[in-house]
Amino acid sequence: MNITLWGVRGSIPTTSPNTRQYGGNTSCVEVDADGWLLVLDAGSGVQGLNSSANVKNSRIDILLTHLHMDHIQGLGFFGPLFNPAAEVHIWGPAGNSQSLRGRLGRYFSPPLFPVYFRNLTCKLILHEIGKSNFNVGPFAIQSDYVIHPGPTVGFRIQHKRGVFTYIPDHEFALGCNINDVKDIRWVSGSELAAGADLLVHDAQYTSEEYQAKQGWGHSSMEDAIQFARLNEVNQLLLSHHDPAHSDEQLRAIQNKLKEKHTTVAFDMAVEGSRIEL
């Protein structure tokens, strides 16, 4: 199972030279194995994914955690959607009163986008998910709601080579005090992350920044590390970097965190990096 990070920035793409090292594209991860391709979220990182040889697959599955703009803004620029020979499956959460198609249709329509849903030329199949289990080729996938504004899920992707958990937008701290957890069942997302070989998790803020942004739907880096520790994750990648954080700042923050936290293997997620499980 190969995992390629095409977008690890949160909220809005950044194009500054100051964010070149960690990358400025918003959420998009490619997972490929045994000739199958999963695309996790379709932020602006989709631009890099378009260059991947895997997009020539006859079937592609896009798994959307939620429909905030930084997770779907690349969808309209994803080549296979305009390829009549491609079969594209989109898996994502519906709303309480609106279908997945209806919700995505708000993006695929003027004034936000010039091309309507109905004008996409691929064979498009939509799947509404919540707390769900489904299989795509060699992958057994579990999705479940996590704490974030609006219907949002995380994914646990099991392959014979390992378990990859992806929760890019998650504020579990709203539901518990992570430093005083007596029962892991009360921690949002814990079932998805338990014992994962690799976890890509929201870590948008420093602890200090988080104090002023509680309820915005994102985690602090410190909390994300504690979350990984509690769930006995093998490797954590801190992701959804705040657009205001420069490379220099992220490097300094990482160095500081590594001095403090020695029991959890973690790094900052870097756009373009590839991990093999």
Binding site: I147, G175, G189
Partner: protein, 129 residues
């Protein structure tokens, strides 16, 4: 198995409230009760953890104004669990130690996304409140 986020967030809200709150699963098992509710139960959540329906349901007796026992199926929380609707009732509770108190109970179902029934919440309003 982790709890649904609707229950996790309900618990977190209960922990912040000054009124007694009981949170159950769909079977009536007591998943959580907050500090004000500890006073009613005479137990601490930290000591008991979750409690099976048969265990916490016998901690106090429920009686009407005339002192007659109230059948379980007439209690708000039991009705909520059966019908998935909100209920409210005022009655007397008597602890195992014989202490009596008049309370009002408001209960409502926790319905998650996709109309999934996840459990129930009972809020106890004490007569002095």
């Amino acid at each position: 198995m982790a709890y649904p986020i609707e229950l996790i967030l309900s618990r977190q809200l209960a922990e912040c409230l000054g009124t007694p709150v009981f949170l159950t699963d769909t079977e009536g098992n007591l998943l959580f009760y907050n500090e004000p509710a500890e006073d009613i139960l005479g137990k601490r959540y930290e000591d008991t953890g979750e409690m099976a329906v048969g265990e916490w349901g016998t901690i106090f007796k429920n009686k009407d104004d005339a002192g007659h026992p109230i059948p379980p199926e007439e209690l708000p929380l039991v009705k909520t669990l059966m019908n998935r609707l909100p209920y409210h009732k005022t009655f007397w509770i008597e602890s195992l130690q014989g202490t009596k108190e008049r309370i009002s109970v408001t209960s409502y179902p926790v319905i998650g996304r996709g109309a999934t029934f996840l459990g129930a919440i009972a809020i106890f309003w004490r007569s002095s409140e």
